[in-house]
């Protein structure tokens, strides 16, 4: 099998996840997109591991071992991530990423109304 097939699929999946991370509003959808990106990486790892172990370059199966580690870490990440999202949702009443703008510039430049509205929303 051509190595290009899994490699290109992996790249496309990664960029799809990238789009999702940048474009989605709901934090949980963003987490899903992150999962997509991680899986793209996993595919890459597996494909190259298969290629290199067949070519007798790598006898340690490091690609597959790393894939397992990535899956594990991804599971931990999704647990922590969801806990954070839930905590934010409890405190702010929303899980929309573009409404969490506490780091924005103060009311001097932004419209004071919108900022005040956010504040009110945040405290609600």
């Amino acid at each position: 099998m051509h190595l290009a097939y899994p490699a290109v699929l992996s790249a496309l999946l990664f960029c799809t996840g990238l789009y999702g991370v940048l474009a989605r509003r709901n934090a949980i959808l963003v987490l899903m997109s992150v999962e997509l990106m991680l899986n793209a990486v996993n595919l890459n790892l597996v494909a190259f591991d298969v290629w290199l172990s067949r070519a007798a370059r790598d006898t340690l199966h490091s690609g597959q071992a790393l894939t397992l580690f990535t899956i594990t870490i991804a599971a931990a990440e999704i647990g922590i991530g969801l806990a954070i999202v839930l905590a934010v949702y409890r405190n702010r009443g929303t899980s929309d990423i573009d409404k969490l703008r506490d780091t924005a510039e103060g009311p001097g430049t932004e419209g004071p109304g919108s900022s005040a509205a956010e504040k009110a929303e945040a405290t609600a």
């Binding site: 496309l12 996840g17 709901n26 934090a27 899956i71 599971a75 931990a76 990440e77 999704i78 922590i80």
Partner: protein
């Protein structure tokens, strides 16, 4: 390109215009996977997004099988399809995500995101194709990722990182508990779930997988 000579080991391999059966299968499943991923990041129905994610991740498991990495494939099915998606669905429910079409699923950042993603895709595909267009994976012979091979490798060469990873999982467990500790009754389920997931992944690697061995396709 300079990369090409170093990686083009398999000279005289078949060209792209005469694909093998595995390649055709990989291509078709890959199209399904990619399509499902696209729907996942574009659909306006939040719950549907999670379900399309299942399709996409399942497709990836099939791709692993086609690449003779059986153990990884079943782990993928068990953890991602089995627990991570369930966890995400719980998260959606707990944050009272709207059922049905929600018009504002995408943020105002969409066009910038699209530009960046397309640019990244073009760059990555260009580089990858340019570098590996002549590289050939020989899938004949024993499976590269059978449970025996993976297990031997993992517990012979990767024991120390493996154990370190268990410490990391413990830290994640504690972190998840701390983050949701002040919670009222409603916030307990995700935290319980997350513990379930984090504990399940080592247990999966330990014990879970036997039925994969007859799956060595090529």
């Amino acid at each position: 390109m300079s990369l090409a000579p170093t990686v083009s080991l398999a000279a005289g391999h078949p060209g792209f215009l005469s694909p093998t059966g595995v390649e055709i299968a990989f291509l078709l499943v890959g199209l399904v996977t990619f399509g499902a991923a696209l729907v996942t990041v574009t659909t306006r129905q939040l719950v549907h997004a999670a379900l399309w994610l299942v399709v996409s991740l399942g497709g990836l498991a099939v791709e692993y099988l086609l690449l003779t990495a059986e153990f990884i494939a079943w782990v993928q099915v068990l953890i991602y399809v089995g627990s991570v998606v369930v966890l995400l669905l719980f998260g959606l429910m707990l944050t009272k995500a709207p059922i049905g079409r929600s018009p504002d699923a995408d943020s105002g950042n969409r066009w910038a995101a699209l530009t960046v993603a397309v640019a990244a895709a073009v760059a990555l595909v260009w580089v990858v194709v340019d570098a590996f267009r002549t590289t050939w994976i020989d899938l004949n012979g024993p499976a590269a990722g059978s449970t025996r091979v993976t297990g031997e490798s993992l517990f012979r060469n990767w024991v120390l990182p493996f154990e370190a990873l268990s410490v990391l999982l413990l830290a994640a467990l504690v972190g998840a508990i701390v983050l949701s500790r002040k919670a009222k009754a409603e916030s307990n389920p995700p935290h319980v779930n997350s513990r379930g997931v984090t504990e399940s992944s080592p247990s999966v690697t330990d014990s879970g997988i036997h039925p994969v061995e007859q799956e060595g396709a090529r």
